[in-house]
Amino acid sequence: MFSFGFIGTIASIIAGGAVATVTVVGLVNNTVESSPDHPGSVSQSSTIAYGSR
């Protein structure tokens, strides 16, 4: 049977690998497809909003 330590090590490797993969994929996606989520008003209105709630 697998010992507690062995299962813990496997779980640690899975956790580390998962977080590292999610981080790298997330960073690459957002770096390659970088465009602001909220570029602001593009109208020629003289009133530009400071923000929204």
Binding site: A15, L27, N29, R53
Partner: protein
């Protein structure tokens, strides 16, 4: 490695967050405006008619950009704020490498940093970066009774706006006084805090009447993002402006981040409590409670705070509710980093420890990935049009004030990628500029407090161009700058001294009364600035002297250094 790796990690994260912002050009986004050479004007010292929100930050930049070009200075400030925050958190938690690296990740890569960057609050970010260093300084004062030589400069850097100054002062005083009141350190400490905050305090007191009329607690109250506000503030989120909240904060990743943070905090709380010097735990707990409490109060009862601010002038400083969350940084980073280190220690084999270390260090980045590369491209630098730069010589100082039309505060110029920004032209020209400070938040308009701006609004409502010119002249306005690409503007009769594709500059010839502040106000402002500059100069001299002594003693034979 324990010392240099956190610095390298903080630098790497800072570069990853800022990305394109570090390239050539000026990052102009919402409240963040940098120009090639900011002229030092009386309104930047606190002598204008408007509430002095950019005192002392603008004046400090105006002085520094005489030495370092504005473009480079902006990048140094942004990079310095993020690296400073990360390394400060690492220095605060101490311990092993994992704890320090987690502290760097939590300190640099969190919603507070990202959202304040996206809204352009760089003095708030400098204040945030100063927080862990001031907590370190306070701890040393509490335990050793001596003020570190670098502490006054960090305090000054962290006090470049009113709200940042309050946070910085609170962190230093609460942590230092946790060791008790000492004659040798307490008085210098109090003087240091007063001097570092003197410019904005003096400017605020001389505008106290305006401060009580500052409206807008509800629009700027702490808000929910993907998490309900009471939970969002635990992870440094909750800014009022939905436009600057990263998309990842609106989904499952925000919940995962919250749960992970709570688990690590629970795991590390006990060990952290035991590892802190006596009194420091309480001090950091008090700071956390005040920071989170104020943010929650702003969310729970903004109207009550607004009512109270009508009677208490300083209370208006708290209307942007989530700014106070910087106070929660030392305790949060301490318990989370300690919990992460404890979790890694649980693993029996080195491969397991390494894997867990990778997981806890990268976790803050994994749950907020869209921060990367200039917050998903939001921090793109831009170059000022040549016509704008030429306006600096056309509009002269000392002849009267300027106004900018269209009469509104924010712009979204095409040359800046249509990103919203507070009008940069107001900082580019050497004349004092009266600006419309009404803020549009969604469908709501928060009225500005400057009575002079209100009179300009009335003057612009005159029925004829000549009538507007006469009314403006009577208010001390000499220059009317019209941004042609910013929408419709009322016509003002005057001598056109420049008319290009983007700008028209009109000079209102004739008699223009020049406003000058009262003697009492000038003296108060001068005294405040003298204290501020004096603190910087005295501390710089002390730092140089200390460095010289160290260099001298390091050249002596081993064992010859005396205490």
């Amino acid at each position: 490695m324990t010392r240099w790796l956190p610095l390298a990690w903080a630098a790497a994260l800072a570069v990853l967050v800022l990305g394109p912002a570090l390239g050539p050009g000026y990052v102009l986004i919402r409240d963040m405006v940098w120009v090639p050479d900011l002229p030092l004007r009386s309104d930047m010292l606190g002598l204008g008619s408007a509430l002095p929100r950019a005192v002392p930050s603008d004046a400090v930049v105006a002085a520094l950009d005489e030495v370092v070009p504005g473009m480079l200075l902006q990048k140094l400030v942004l990079l310095g704020a993020l690296v400073g925050a990360g390394t400060g958190c690492a220095a605060l938690v101490g311990g092993g490498l994992v704890a320090r690296l987690v502290a760097v990740s939590v300190g640099v890569w969190n919603p507070f940093v990202v959202e304040r960057l996206a809204i352009g609050h760089w003095p708030v970010l400098l204040g945030y970066a100063a927080v862990p260093w001031l907590a370190v300084a306070g701890r040393r004062i509490a335990t050793g009774g001596r003020i570190p030589a670098w502490a006054p400069l960090v305090l000054v850097a962290g006090s470049l706006s009113a709200s940042a100054g309050l946070v910085s002062a609170a962190v230093l005083l609460v942590t230092a006084l946790a060791g008790g009141v000492r004659r040798r350190s307490t008085l210098p400490l109090a003087l240091m805090v007063v001097a570092a905050n003197a410019p904005w305090v003096a400017a605020g007191l001389t505008h106290a009447g305006l401060a009580t009329s500052a409206a807008g607690f509800r629009p700027f109250a702490t808000a929910s993002d993907g998490l309900p506000a009471p939970l969002a503030v635990l992870t440094f989120g909750g800014i009022w402006n939905a436009d600057v909240v990263p998309t990842s904060r609106e989904g499952a990743l925000a919940w995962i981040g919250l749960l992970a943070m709570l688990c690590l905090a629970a795991c590390g709380a006990r060990r952290w409590w035991r590892s802190e010097p006596p009194g420091q735990q309480i001090a950091l707990l008090v700071l956390w409670g005040v920071g989170v409490g104020l943010a929650l109060l702003s969310w729970a009862s903004p109207d009550a705070m607004a009512d109270a601010s009508a009677h208490v002038p300083g209370l208006a400083l708290l209307r942007d509710g989530s700014r106070s969350l910087a106070l929660a940084l030392p305790l949060t980073v301490g318990v989370v980093a300690t919990g992460a280190a404890r979790l890694v220690d649980v693993a029996r084999q080195s491969v397991g420890r390494w894997s867990l270390a990778v997981a806890v260090v990268l976790l803050p980045i994994a749950v907020l990935p869209d921060v990367a590369w200039g917050i998903g491209g939001a921090l793109q630098p831009a170059h000022y049009p040549d016509e704008w730069l030429a306006a600096r010589t056309t509009v002269r100082a000392g002849e009267g004030d300027a106004i900018i039309l269209p009469w509104s505060a924010y712009r979204a110029p095409a040359w800046n990628g249509h990103r919203p920004v507070i009008d940069p032209l107001a900082r580019l020209v050497p004349a004092d500029v009266v600006t419309n400070q009404d803020l549009v938040v969604g469908s709501m308009t928060v009225a500005g407090e400057d009575p002079r701006a209100r009179r300009v609004s009335t003057a612009l409502a005159a029925p004829t161009p000549s009538g507007r010119a006469d009314a403006l002249r009577a208010l001390g306005v000499r220059w009317v700058l019209v941004e042609k690409d910013a929408g419709e503007a009322p016509s003002v009769h005057g001598r056109v001294v420049h008319d290009g594709p983007l700008l028209r500059i009109i000079r209102l010839d004739g008699n223009v009364p020049l406003a000058s502040p009262s003697t009492a106000r000038s003296i108060a402002t001068a005294a405040a600035w003298a204290a501020f500059v004096g603190l910087v100069l005295v501390d710089l001299a002390g730092v140089v002297r200390t460095a010289r002594v160290r260099m001298t003693t390091s050249g002596l034979p081993a064992g010859s250094v005396r205490d």
